[in-house]
């Protein structure tokens, strides 16, 4: 449209440049990106290039296409991000449909038949079903979540590209994650969060003074929900606490002591877990318990009921049995909506610096009224995942071999190491693999570590290990040992 070119402050054309008045589509986002103000982040420069960058230059990865994932994809696409990848290893289940709105349950009406069985009508069962339908189908159940979600978002928001990945996060090469500027998590497990946290923290390189090289930092926006409660937070590895530093924020996961299950059950869950964890192994020897097998679940339920009767515990239902055995997390749409949107907002802020970022953790509780609070935290300087150098004092005379032995005995690293390789400022001091490198670096094991480090009394070594997802950075400080001799004072 000719007159658009004459307006000096006209909004840039949007994705489909067909002159159909589409410019106004991004009017809302542009309000944020085309103006300055006293709440913008450092280095914010208002301008149409920002929205173009969001559309063209940014790649965001969304991990999880479930309750949070669906909401995240919608919010990010509507906010102007043009290239989104989504990864999820699950297929769609009917119990997802109360909140994962990108997945549909659809009644498709087949041809009208003159005589209908009441059973067919009953299976249809829609309250609003007035037509005479015979062909009811749960459209999406069983399909991969990532693929259906990607397709639906692209259908609804013109111009966004969403690439699905139907696999586990561990199945991807670590290099895969390097392609994204920001990673947003809609995960449901601590282990998955821990994994991706280690990957991202492993990418960070540190300067001599322990400060991170900004170009190696990939921010992580993490959301989590359970029933009415949820949290959203921003992790900027090297600067804010990483997931590992702040593990204490998560409530302890519920496990029951075996003695309680065996001797003194008090709750329905105790009865159920007894049947699940103890009785099954005793009474159905060698049989693998399959939680999706209704006969197995019914067996657990029956045994739990009996135990409940024995100990005078009521309240054991089939539904509860499923919930306890499968560790079902109750979930509703609104909590996911709030948490995902908060994450999307932070992602937008990080990408454009259009407003002050969250500092750094938000808790949402929807039960008694509403509780929405942001809390700043400090990172743990000795966190083994994200620290620029976990301190370790060693003897001046120590050899590389002894140093490795010390690492393996240190309670902080024990569980994370099995066969550690050591490098110093990019030089391999000792490599466990491949065989050729191992042979080449083996003589170093007998060398004095201080000498291998060029005489530096305190510096950072990088430890790699197949058990580690990222890298363990250890700041070694050499101290005077009891058996070393100060050559200058010897003889006086």
């Amino acid at each position: 449209m000719a007159d658009q070119q004459q307006q000096p402050s006209s909004l840039p054309s949007s994705r489909t440049d067909d002159g159909s008045g589409m410019e106004n589509r991004w009017r809302d986002i542009d309000r944020l990106l085309l103006r300055s103000g006293n709440l913008v982040g450092p280095g914010f420069e208002p301008g149409p290039e920002l929205r173009e960058a969001l559309e063209n230059d940014f790649r965001v990865l969304v991990i999880g296409a479930g309750g949070l994932g669906c909401e995240l994809l919608k919010d990010l696409a509507l906010s102007g991000f043009g290239h989104i990848d989504v990864i999820d290893m699950d297929t769609i289940d009917v119990s997802n449909l109360n909140r994962q709105f990108l997945f549909r349950i659809v009644v498709s009406f087949g041809s009208i038949r003159s005589s209908l069985s009441s059973k067919a009508r009953a299976i249809c069962g829609w309250k609003s079903c007035t037509a005479v339908g015979v062909d009811c189908r749960m459209q999406d159940v069983g399909k991969p979540k990532s693929e259906v979600a990607a397709a639906r978002v692209m259908q609804r928001v013109k111009g966004v590209t969403v690439i699905p990945h139907f696999c586990k996060i561990e199945d991807k090469d670590i290099a895969f994650y390097k392609d994204f500027q920001i990673i947003v998590l809609g995960l449901d497990s601590l282990e998955a969060r821990s994994y991706i946290n280690s990957v991202i923290c492993g990418f960070v390189e540190y300067e001599e003074d322990g400060s991170p090289d900004l170009s190696t930092i990939k921010p992580l926006v993490d959301g989590g929900t359970e029933g009415f409660k949820g949290h959203a937070r921003v992790i900027i590895p090297g600067i804010t606490p990483c997931f590992h530093c702040s593990l204490w924020l998560f409530p302890p996961q519920i496990t029951f002591p075996l003695c309680t299950l065996a001797e003194t059950p008090r709750s329905p869950a105790h009865c159920i877990e007894y049947a699940h964890l103890i009785q099954w192994g005793q009474d159905r020897i060698g049989e693998y318990f399959d939680a999706d097998n209704p006969e197995h679940m019914k067996w657990i339920y029956d045994q739990a009921l009996k135990r409940g009767e024995q100990f005078n515990i009521s309240g054991i239902t089939y539904s509860l049995t499923q919930g306890v055995v499968k560790n079902i997390v109750p979930a509703i749409a609104s909590t996911n909506a709030v948490v995902a949107a908060t994450c999307a907002l932070e992602t937008l802020k990080i990408a454009t610096m259009c407003s002050t970022g969250m500092d750094i953790y938000m808790q949402y509780t929807g039960t008694e009224g509403i509780y929405l609070r942001t809390v700043p935290h400090d990172k743990d300087r000795n966190c083994i995942i994200c620290s620029p150098g976990v301190p370790l004092e060693v003897d001046k005379s120590i050899t590389l071999q002894k140093f490795i032995d010390t690492l393996l005995k240190d309670s902080r690293f024990k569980l994370k190491l099995s066969k550690p390789s050591v490098s110093y400022h990019g030089n391999n001091l000792y490599m466990q693999a491949p065989a050729v490198l191992e042979e080449m670096t083996r003589p170093n094991l007998q060398e004095q570590l201080l000498r291998l480090m060029g005489g530096e009394t305190s510096d950072v070594l990088n430890i790699n290990d197949r058990r580690l997802t990222g890298v363990l950075r250890v700041r070694v400080t050499f101290r005077e040992g009891a058996d070393t001799i100060d050559m200058d004072t010897a003889g006086t």
Binding site: R27, R35, R121, A333, A341, A344, S355
Partner: protein, 329 residues
């Protein structure tokens, strides 16, 4: 052979399993009888509709005759892009069609005409009314109409402007059960809400210093829009000088200093006009959706009675604005 109604419940039980584990089958049944009216469909209202439809309310009636435009679709996920091309459909019609896809078990329909022309008996068809962006005059009018009906019609009004969002709740007299921390059983409680007009009449001088500034800023904007006859959400930076002198007048009437309402807050709100940010709509829509579910299921303490949110600092604040003579719960 089971009856159709039992099989219906089985169907619902499968889909609603995850939420029934939270609020119970009884609450879910109450929810499935709830009849909701929504007036004025902005982005935040669309989000709310998504949440309550997914949750399984009984029926939803949409009222918004405005024509579909690209601007309207910017923050509204219910509008498929291709359907915008001159088909002459109203926003309500387009959104209704999408909502039916989200949950075919909910009856979604469209009501034409303006709300102010509806007779009093119109509200008897509903258990709750949600007003989207509308003039303060219309909001108070609808709120009064709801309060006159023989059975309780819950009232909500919601609006999002830029990074800010606000919510007002009036459940009149409401009974609910809630489990306090440390208690074994849920206890029944009663709570009463002032009307919108009663809340508006509370003098500003009675508020404490920590009250959210958004409360006053939005009130000024609401009143300004009414007094100069502007459509809600049509303000721009050019209105700022008039808005500032209007603030002076209102603060003088209310006997509070002008610093009560910071310049930069008014400037921010004026310059965004009526534009909505999708993630802010999703947050407020999530909270409002949950409030409606609590009210209809009578489970859980409802928000009383104003909520303000600003994405700039991520803070969500509840303000309880009641006339002093009301027995405060």
């Amino acid at each position: 052979m089971e009856s159709v109604s039992e099989l219906l419940t089985e169907q619902e039980a499968a889909i609603y399993d995850r939420q029934i584990r939270i609020w119970g089958a009884d609450a879910q049944r109450k929810l499935s009888k709830a009849r909701i009216l929504v007036v004025g469909i902005t982005g935040v209202v669309a989000e709310t509709c998504k949440n309550i439809v997914l949750a399984g309310i009984g029926s939803l009636v949409l009222m918004d005759d405005s024509p579909m435009t690209f601007e309207a679709s910017a923050a509204n996920f219910l509008v498929p892009f291709d359907e915008l091309e001159g088909q002459g459909n109203s926003i309500a019609t387009v959104c209704a069609s999408s909502l039916r896809d989200f949950n075919p078990m909910v009856q979604v329909s469209v009501e034409e005409g303006g709300i102010s022309s509806k007779p009093d008996e119109f509200y008897d068809r509903f258990d709750a009314v949600i007003m989207g962006r509308s003039s303060l005059t219309l909001r108070t009018q609808v709120n009064e109409a709801c309060r006159k009906r023989p059975h309780r019609v819950a009232f909500y009004s919601v609006d999002c402007r830029g990074t800010c969002g606000s919510l007002f709740v009036d459940l009149q007299r409401h009974s609910f059960t809630s489990k306090k921390a440390g208690d074994d059983k849920a206890a029944q409680q009663d709570i009463s809400f002032p009307s919108l007009q009663e809340a508006l009449n509370v003098p500003w001088s009675s508020f404490n210093k920590r009250t959210s500034k958004l409360l006053f800023a939005l009130r000024i904007i609401d009143q300004f829009e009414v007094d100069v006859g502007r459509r809600p959400g049509q303000l721009s930076s050019q209105d700022l000088p008039d808005l500032i002198s209007y603030r002076g007048k209102m603060c003088a009437i209310q006997k509070v200093p002008e610093s009560f309402v910071p310049d930069n807050l008014l400037q921010k709100l004026a310059s965004v006009g009526g534009t909505e940010l999708p993630p802010v709509c999703a947050i407020i829509g999530g909270i409002l959706g949950q409030e409606l579910i609590k009210a209809m299921s009578c489970k859980g303490e409802p928000l009383k009675n104003f909520f303000f949110f600003d994405a700039s600092d991520g803070k969500g604040i509840i303000e309880c604005v009641v006339p002093s003579q009301m027995n405060d719960h």
